[in-house]
């Protein structure tokens, strides 16, 4: 497709389970971002990938969160031992190298931890 895609669109899990969220960026975009949006915290930056550089993980809230980007394209955000406070919408965005700064967002994955 032409835009950023994310899967699943909704995920319900039980506390303590691990979840994986997937992001397919726009083809050719070198930068990829993960954000999360919750009622209490608003939109928060989580992690940023740029090409082959080491990712900027400074926004990850705990060591239960990790992300990888394989082959400079698809990214997976993994949350281990989920907690109820992890419930949020997880948004992925990508940006081409030539962009002035605009990011292109996917539709998000709504995660609910019971």
């Amino acid at each position: 497709g032409a835009g950023v895609s994310q899967s699943p669109s909704n995920k319900v899990t039980e506390k303590g389970k691990d979840v994986e969220l997937r992001c397919d960026p726009i083809s050719g975009h070198t930068a990829l971002y993960w954000y999360r949006q919750s009622l209490g915290q608003g939109l928060e930056f989580l992690i940023y990938f740029q090409g082959n550089s080491a990712p900027d993980k400074s926004g990850l809230p705990s060591d239960r969160f990790s992300a990888e980007r394989t082959g400079g394209s698809v990214s997976t955000l993994t949350i281990q031992r989920t907690q109820q406070e992890d419930s949020a919408v997880y948004l992925c965005a990508s940006r081409p190298r030539t962009s002035g700064g605009e990011q292109f967002f996917g539709p998000g994955t709504r995660l609910t931890v019971l």
């Binding site: 949006q37 939109l43 948004l91």
Partner: protein, 111 residues
């Protein structure tokens, strides 16, 4: 930490009226961007203004930036029902590649 902070507003206006939203931030920026979000899902980029620009237009959108006051405003002219959404400002801080979002403004345009 979030930089952008919109005035906490929920605007309800009649179709055809103008809607104005404000945003303030705390540190130096490369640019400031405005995004729209419908139904709590993906964000759509609306407009970007660089730190050396003071005003920018795009269609019915007008954005201003005052770096001395670290503030920005977004004006939507001649609003339409389809403009009903949440609007977020986001700052791209100097030397940083991530966006710091404000809390958003909910705008409802009544037909």
């Amino acid at each position: 930490s979030q930089q952008g902070e919109e005035d906490p507003q929920a605007l309800s206006i009649q179709e055809g009226e103008n809607a104005t939203m404000n945003c303030s931030y705390k540190t130096s920026i490369n640019n400031l961007q405005w995004y729209r979000q419908n139904s709590g899902r993906g964000l759509v980029h609306l407009i970007l203004i660089r730190s050396n620009e003071r005003e920018k237009h795009s269609g019915r959108l007008r954005v201003t930036l005052d770096t001395s006051k670290k503030s920005s405003s977004l004006l939507i002219t001649a609003s339409r029902a389809a403009d009903t959404a949440s609007y977020f400002c986001a700052t791209d801080a100097s030397g940083n590649n991530r966006l710091a979002f404000g809390k958003g403004n909910q705008v409802v345009v009544i037909p």
